[in-house]
């Protein structure tokens, strides 16, 4: 039994496997399939200061080894979360992390400040890179200045672990990572989805209501691994890797590339129990390879 304990900037996890925002609801939707407390953390769906209806249907298109989505941050707002959802999830014995989105630094900060008051939410993940809403942070996430402006504003009011989720739709994700590190981020998670598009040639219409959306799934894994590898060399804060992880071998690939922990996203749609399988699989792999702890593989790449 290898030691899977992982610490991300003070955030203690029983294992390095978390579920990605927007792919696991608030966790409770999956309680019939797994024991939620068997995974290291659950990043609940994107929350904004004010309620959002999200984009029109259709919001999803299947692609080769992946999918596009343009949900557009549909959520009932941070107040609803605090009053109605938080009570349902606060006693789940794992790290319940809230993904926070916004349209301007002030909104991000106010939303983060409210969540800062919730005892059982030890961390937030700032989504500065949602490709699916005109002001969903994509604008912030693709420039160092924009990214810093959001992180600085949030850092001022948020006292717990601050994770910043980065977009791969940039020329240099390393530069963005360094800039959010400078602005006070405790960790970075990457990658968010790649901006893509799919067309129904019979209808001569985009398959998604807003034309473009975010690509996820195994198709993007090579891009995600590359980004994790680049960023982990560029910054000193922990890197959380995600992008097409379907099994423990994928997770270990990200960890060798430099990820201290991983997030399972789209795979939750294919197998609602995959997150626990990945956690157990990592343990078995470490055992069969004579590794005592995850530390023996994180960033341990020969090249």
């Amino acid at each position: 039994m290898a030691n899977l304990k992982t610490t991300i900037a003070g955030l203690e996890m029983k294992n390095p496997v978390m579920t990605a925002s927007g792919t696991f609801g608030y966790g409770i939707e999956f309680a019939d399939f797994i024991n939620l407390e068997d995974i290291g953390g659950i990043i609940v769906k994107g929350t904004t200061l004010k309620p959002r209806e999200g984009n029109d249907y259709p919001r999803m298109a299947e692609t080769a080894s992946g999918m596009l989505n343009c949900v557009g941050l549909q959520n009932k707002g941070v107040d609803y979360f605090c009053e109605h959802i938080y009570p349902q999830i606060k006693d789940i014995n794992t790290n319940m992390i809230v993904n926070v989105s916004g349209s301007c630094p002030e909104d991000y900060a106010e939303c983060a400040a409210r969540i800062n008051e919730l005892d059982h939410i030890p961390a937030i993940e700032l989504n500065i890179s949602c490709p699916n809403v005109r002001q969903g942070g994509m604008a912030f996430g693709v420039t160092c200045e924009g990214a810093q402006s959001v992180v600085r504003a949030v850092r001022e009011v948020y006292r717990k672990t601050l994770i910043v989720k980065l977009s791969p739709n940039v020329t240099s994700i390393s530069d963005i990572a360094r800039s959010v590190e400078d602005a006070g981020a405790d960790a970075v998670s990457l990658i968010n989805t790649l901006m893509g598009m799919s067309i129904d040639i019979e209808k001569r219409r985009p398959r998604l209501s807003i034309s473009t959306g975010g690509l996820s799934g195994p198709a993007v894994k090579p891009v995600a691994v590359r980004c994790v590898w680049q960023v982990s060399k560029a910054v000193n804060i922990p890197v959380i890797g995600l992008g097409g992880i379907m099994n423990e071998r994928d997770a270990i690939e990200f960890m060798l590339a430099g990820a201290s922990a991983v997030e399972i996203g789209t795979a939750n749609f294919v197998d609602p129990a995959v997150s626990v399988k990945v956690a157990n699989g990592i343990n078995d792999w470490l055992d069969s390879h004579g590794c005592k702890s995850v530390a023996e593989i994180v960033g341990q790449l020969n090249c």
Binding site: G22, T23, F24, G25, E29, F30, D32, F33, K45, E53, G54, D56, Y57, P58, R59, M60, A61, E62, T63, A64, S65, G66, M67, N69, V71, Q74, G217, P218, T266, N268, F269, V270, D271, P272, A273
Partner: protein, 264 residues
């Protein structure tokens, strides 16, 4: 409504017990398990994992056609349209199919002893009406089926429907029953119905909803929005309702037309 929030969901490897091909473009998969199949309600659906189909990444949602408690079988009636469903049609007796189920809310329970409920199905949309019809009959209601299809050959499980209640048919080519669309069938003028449940192509369901609204008949429709997770997590399959965007996979697939914002 049934207390669906308490209904446990499962992920199971089910065994293909029988495979039937009612028609070139359809396959009827009869799945079983060693242990008794869990409780399922009419109108609910399952999400199946398709193996050996390179272009199929996500699960495929399929409505529950019937649950045979005697043989412990779950029936899935599938129309083979894309690569995913074609791969399902290749399944053979003894193969394993991984299924996440039961999902969604399902049709309304019996409201009143003896109520006459019209079940309108189009194409493969007739699938969930078989289980629902039997449920209604067993619980003191009177199901009446109005089934539409392009042609006689596309009419599925007719014999089974006839064992449950009266069956009225329309085909576009007049090869069986009355010619035209379900909403043109004469029975709609002759008979009184307490309520309507319908499943099939959206244009058909909208026509049925329009008829119901015009005649003040309560009507529920089963939607088939494209979905990914089937669990209310991804928010991809939303339908605009009077309450805003809601997940068809969780709040639905069955909605009372009063909840929807259809322009009818």
């Amino acid at each position: 409504m049934y207390n669906l929030t308490d209904m446990k969901k499962y992920i199971k490897d089910l065994k293909v017990a029988e495979v039937e091909y009612p028609h070139a473009r359809y396959v009827l998969l009869k799945l079983t398990a060693d242990e008794p199949l869990p409780e399922m309600m009419p109108g609910q659906f399952v999400e199946v994992k398709v193996e050996n189909s390179p272009s199929t990444f996500l699960r495929r949602p399929i409505s529950i056609n019937y649950v045979d408690r005697n043989s412990n079988q779950l029936w899935l009636l599938v129309q083979t349209v894309g690569e995913g469903t074609k791969a399902l049609a290749r399944l053979q007796e003894g193969d394993i199919l991984n299924v996440v189920f039961p999902l969604g809310n399902g049709f309304s329970p019996v409201c009143r002893e003896g109520e006459q409920v019209l079940l309108v199905g189009g194409g493969v949309g007739v699938a969930p009406l078989l289980m629902y019809g039997e449920y209604l009959k067993e619980n003191g209601a009177k199901p009446v089926f109005l089934l539409g299809a392009r042609s006689k050959a596309d009419l599925l499980e007719l014999d089974l429907f006839r064992q449950i209640g009266d069956v009225y048919i329309t085909t576009e080519d007049a090869s069986e029953g009355e010619k035209g669309f379900v909403t043109q069938h004469s029975v709609l003028n002759r008979e009184h119905f307490d309520r309507i449940s319908t499943c099939g192509p959206k244009p058909m369901m909208m026509a049925v909803a329009k008829f119901a609204k015009a005649n003040d008949i309560p009507c529920e429709v089963s939607l088939e929005n494209m979905m990914a997770c089937g669990l209310g997590a991804c928010l991809c399959c939303v339908e605009k309702t009077v309450k805003g965007n809601v997940c068809v996979c969780k709040e639905g697939p069955v909605f009372n037309i009063e909840e929807l914002t259809w322009q009818i």
